[in-house]
């Protein structure tokens, strides 16, 4: 259970990103979690509010996205091969490296300005976007 440590690091990283955007505060932060990263997304989501408590990120929502493993071939350079096969589908080499699946990476951050904060745009009441990336407001 090291997700609280990861959550504390996440709070630090997002705070640093916010410093580069004066006048904004954070809405939703999206983190990609590789299935071989050793991090449990549910535990990270549980730990994040605890780590954010008492910081400028206390109202920030965390969304995690699982990243499936994929392989690159060191032989021919083919990328994103099916990880269930340990042989390159292009050249037959077995010299493969993991291209995705180990990351713990911030991939998106919502920046809210003062106007957003007054309107509470983080979870807009009038959003009808069924493709809303946050899913929280889809169809509402």
């Amino acid at each position: 259970m090291h997700e609280l440590s990861i959550a504390c690091e996440l709070v630090q990283r997002v705070s640093e990103i916010l410093e580069q955007h004066p006048g904004y505060r954070a809405g939703t932060v999206t983190v990609a979690v590789g299935v071989y990263s050793g991090v449990n997304p549910g535990a990270l989501e549980y730990a994040f509010p605890l780590a954010a408590e008492g910081t400028i990120l206390r109202d920030v929502a965390l969304v995690t996205e699982s990243v499936a493993p994929s392989l690159d071939c060191r032989g021919c350079g083919a990328s994103h091969l099916d990880p269930s096969s340990l042989t390159c589908a292009v050249c037959g080499s077995t010299d493969l490296s993991l291209a995705t699946g180990r990351e713990i990476e911030i991939t998106a951050l919502e920046l809210l300005d003062e106007e957003d904060q007054e309107q509470g745009t983080s979870q807009p009441e009038d959003c009808h976007d069924t493709d809303c990336p946050e899913k929280q407001c889809a169809g509402s």
């Binding site: 690091e9 071989y36 490296s97 180990r102 951050l109």
Partner: protein, 216 residues
């Protein structure tokens, strides 16, 4: 509202320190190994068997990580090999920062720095400690499917030591199947089945590390 796309590692702070540590060690010609494995897999016993042989030719030092006690550090120091202990006080993994702090001057004149991580096959995986080689220590008594149950550790490693092979006749697990399972997680692994108790297979493992030191 603006949504910005990023590609920013959550562990960027740890990775930066690990990178600094790696550069510093390379500058001094020190090879660094990060040993991970379950509690009781035989990490310290393996070091006790291997380090005296390496210490005849190379200057070795050890950073020991445990939740509590300096027992492991004392076992290494008893061999005449310098060691420092990190007691994490509950944390399940070492960080690059904790290693850098503990190192002090230990890495000064070392050929080989061994970091024995806290006994844990999950939480240790995400943290780069500046090592050149990550070695998973797994005992045959833990079960031949251990690599399949904890793939992240085996995916992140370069090398595996399958320990306690002398126990194979007494447990329902075959070394050959454990090796196959580890390779199914990561076909690039170098795997050394060995017994620190009987000495079987130790020579190849010592030779592997000595080779890394000779090719610095």
């Amino acid at each position: 509202m603006t949504r910005i796309a990023l590609k920013s590692s959550v562990l960027a702070h740890n990775d930066a320190i690990a990178g600094r540590l790696r550069a510093r060690l390379h500058e001094r010609g020190t090879v660094c190994l990060n040993i991970i494995g379950s509690p009781g897999s035989g990490k310290t016993t393996l070091l006790e068997a291997v380090l005296p042989q390496l210490a005849e030719r190379f200057r070795c030092g050890v950073v020991e990580g445990d939740v509590a006690t300096d027992n492991d550090m004392r076992r290494i120091v008893a061999l005449g090999i310098p060691a420092v202990q990190i007691e994490t006080g509950g944390s399940c993994h070492l960080t690059a920062e904790s290693v850098e702090r503990a190192l002090g001057d230990l890495s000064g004149g070392l050929d080989l720095l061994v970091i024995e991580n806290v006994g844990n096959l999950i939480c240790t995986v995400a943290y780069d400690l500046g090592e050149d080689d990550r070695i998973v220590v797994v005992s045959i008594a833990e079960g031949e499917d251990k690599p399949l149950k904890y793939p992240s550790a085996f995916v992140s490693a370069n090398t595996v030591a399958v320990t306690k092979t002398d126990l194979e006749p007494y447990v329902d697990a075959r070394v050959e199947i454990m090796v196959r399972n580890a390779l199914s997680c990561n076909p690039g692994l170098r795997i050394f089945p060995l017994s620190a108790k009987t000495g079987e297979g130790l020579g190849a493992f010592v030779g592997y590390i000595a080779g890394k030191l000779a090719n610095r």
